[in-house]
């Protein structure tokens, strides 16, 4: 008899713990608000079951030490840094080509304008929204060291470039991009008010029967200091009633989430076109190289991005005598496919999955065609910081200034993504 009483006592003692232990939302909830949002997430997840990286921070492709063969259409919103740390080459025998790789920094006109106004470029929504066109223009400057004796096209150069986004449909702050989202949020908001009212009524009737209007219960039992003790009393049966009440009013919430998800996908998949000029500028004793090109980015699938470059490479010989086989005017077409190994999990701002790129660069001059191909792996370290590793093959050694193959390793920083993470 005593044993049975002790057992019964222990069961009674542990029952409430078992009851609220089923509520996975409660342990981490700072307040009733967070608990409600969590329960809605759970109800939607139970109902529905398991459920672009075009901003270039690297040096432009015209730089021999760039880790990319194909340029993308836009630059980071604020400042991007590209560093090539290591070049693995079949350097000519006896060569003292031990220089580290090139370094470049890219900034949008927007970031310069923000600095001039003393504004935080990523915190002030008015400033960001009202200066959309300033984000279309970006500048790159950098330095590429000399190699293989440092003569002619192998001498040290200053990297300079300008890129202008001509056709940009991916700008999220465009009002027309969000019109239907505002409407879906409004509808879901009214639905949430009804969900919260229904849940509060259920809790009040179950936990404080005859206690008067639910408002009194909400004031006394669901505030910051009391909500946890109140929700600890919710057993499995009551939780089921709450979830059923949420489910009955969830249509607008699901519609809003679907609309947001569809909008993110739609915006990411829109094409983007830009025009770019990039150069390797040298002193009077060596020629300059210029690249003029049009750039198109297009998402073929959520994880597959295609990029195309079409343009002209020019060499300004400055009346110097160049090696006999040097072409001063080369038509160039390049394309790449980039595959992401994970579904972007953080929407528009911080999506940085590991990506694998395959690129082809064709250069036509005087009826002769040369090509380069590249395999490139982008390894994200944290938001905004990526390590690109590339391996390039050429059909002719002179195309990459080496005998057959080059491997490059570096890192890029997109400060806008990094800052967003640190905020």
């Amino acid at each position: 008899m005593i044993r049975r009483s002790v057992l019964l006592f222990l069961v009674c003692l542990t029952l409430p713990a078992f009851a609220h232990a089923q509520d996975t939302c409660l342990p981490n909830a700072q307040g009733f608000t967070q608990w409600m949002n969590c329960r809605i997430d759970l109800v939607i997840a139970a109902k529905s079951g398991p459920s672009g990286g075009e901003k270039q921070a690297e040096a432009p492709s015209v730089a021999d030490d760039s880790t990319t063969l194909v340029d993308t259409s836009s630059a980071p919103d604020f400042v991007g840094l590209g560093v090539t740390l290591l070049g693995l080459r079949n350097a000519p025998e006896g060569s003292d080509d031990t220089n580290p790789g090139g370094t470049s920094i890219t900034a949008t006109a927007y970031s310069l304008l923000a600095a001039a106004y003393g504004k935080d470029p990523l915190a002030d929504p008015d400033f960001y929204a009202n200066h959309h066109n300033w984000r279309r223009v970006s500048f790159t400057v950098g330095r590429e060291p000399a190699r293989e004796g440092g003569a002619g096209l192998n001498s040290a150069s200053t990297i300079a470039g300008v890129k202008v986004v001509l056709w940009d449909l991916r700008e999220i702050t465009r009002t027309e991009n969000l019109t239907d989202i505002h409407s879906a949020v409004e509808t879901a908001n009214v639905a949430f008010a009804n969900i919260q009212s229904a849940v509060t009524e259920i809790l009040a009737s179950a936990l404080a029967p005859g206690g008067g209007p639910a408002t009194g219960f909400a004031i006394s039992s669901l505030g910051a200091g009391t909500f946890k003790a109140t929700l600890m009393k919710v057993d499995a049966e009551l939780l089921k009633r709450i979830d059923a009440a949420i489910l009955a009013r969830i249509t607008a919430e699901v519609a809003m989430r679907d609309a947001i998800k569809a909008k993110i996908t739609e915006i990411k998949n829109r094409p983007q076109i830009s025009l770019a000029w990039s150069s390797n500028l040298r002193d009077a004793t060596a020629p300059d190289q210029h690249r003029f090109q049009a750039i198109l980015d297009y998402n073929l699938a959520p994880r597959l991005t295609a990029t195309g470059n079409l343009g002209l490479d020019l060499i300004d010989d400055k009346d110097l005598t160049l090696p006999p086989d040097t072409e001063t005017s080369v038509f160039r077409a390049a394309g790449s496919l980039k595959l992401a190994f994970a579904e972007p999990g953080h929407g528009l701002v911080l999506s940085q999955p590991v990506t694998l790129g395959l690129s082809l660069d064709l250069q036509v001059a005087g009826g002769d065609t040369k090509y380069k191909t590249q395999v490139k792996l982008d390894l994200p370290v944290t938001a905004g910081v990526t390590i690109p590793i590339s391996l390039t093959w050429a059909d002719r050694p002179e195309v990459i200034d080496e005998k057959e193959v080059r491997g490059l390793f570096g890192f890029t920083i997109d400060t806008s993504k990094l800052a967003a993470l640190l905020r």
Binding site: T33, C38, H182, V185, N189, I219, I264, G347
Partner: protein, 142 residues
């Protein structure tokens, strides 16, 4: 290496709650009203809605200066503001517009303009564009 704590809401949401009342009595006949203020930060435009159980009341584009940094609105100052004696009001904020941080302050204010009580005061931030947060409060007017 320290394990990243799970988000407070959505995919990457973080909440810092100072006050989170779920109910309040508002003596409208004595001139009390509710004042709400939403401060936003981030490279984008705010996407939010404020409403009751019966209808939407305010949305970001309703404000003449939208997009802006601070949105403020009163409630129960105009006749007809209350649809029912007891009604649940809700704020929904979304991060798709590029905003990375919202601070919401809801106060009960006396006719004289003195703050009688703080009903809501929290920071919600997220770097995930698909994240959404709702908060609600049941108000009983007399």
């Amino acid at each position: 290496m320290a394990k990243t704590p799970p988000p407070d809401f959505g995919k990457a949401g973080r909440l810092k709650i100072r006050t989170d009342e779920q109910g309040a009595l508002v003596n409208v006949s004595a001139g009390e009203f509710i004042r709400s203020k939403l401060t936003v930060k981030g490279p984008g435009q705010a996407v939010f809605a404020f409403g009751c159980q019966h209808r939407p009341l305010w949305s970001a584009p309703d404000f003449p200066g939208h997009p802006q940094e601070v949105y403020e609105w009163p409630h129960f100052k105009q006749p007809g503001d209350a649809d029912a004696p007891a009604d649940t009001y809700a704020l929904t904020i979304a991060f798709i517009g590029g905003i990375t941080s919202y601070t919401f302050l809801m106060e009960k204010v006396a006719k004289s303009g003195t703050v009688v009580a703080t009903l809501k005061d929290f920071d919600a931030s997220s770097t995930a564009a698909q994240d959404v947060l709702h908060t609600g409060i049941m108000l009983l007017v007399s």
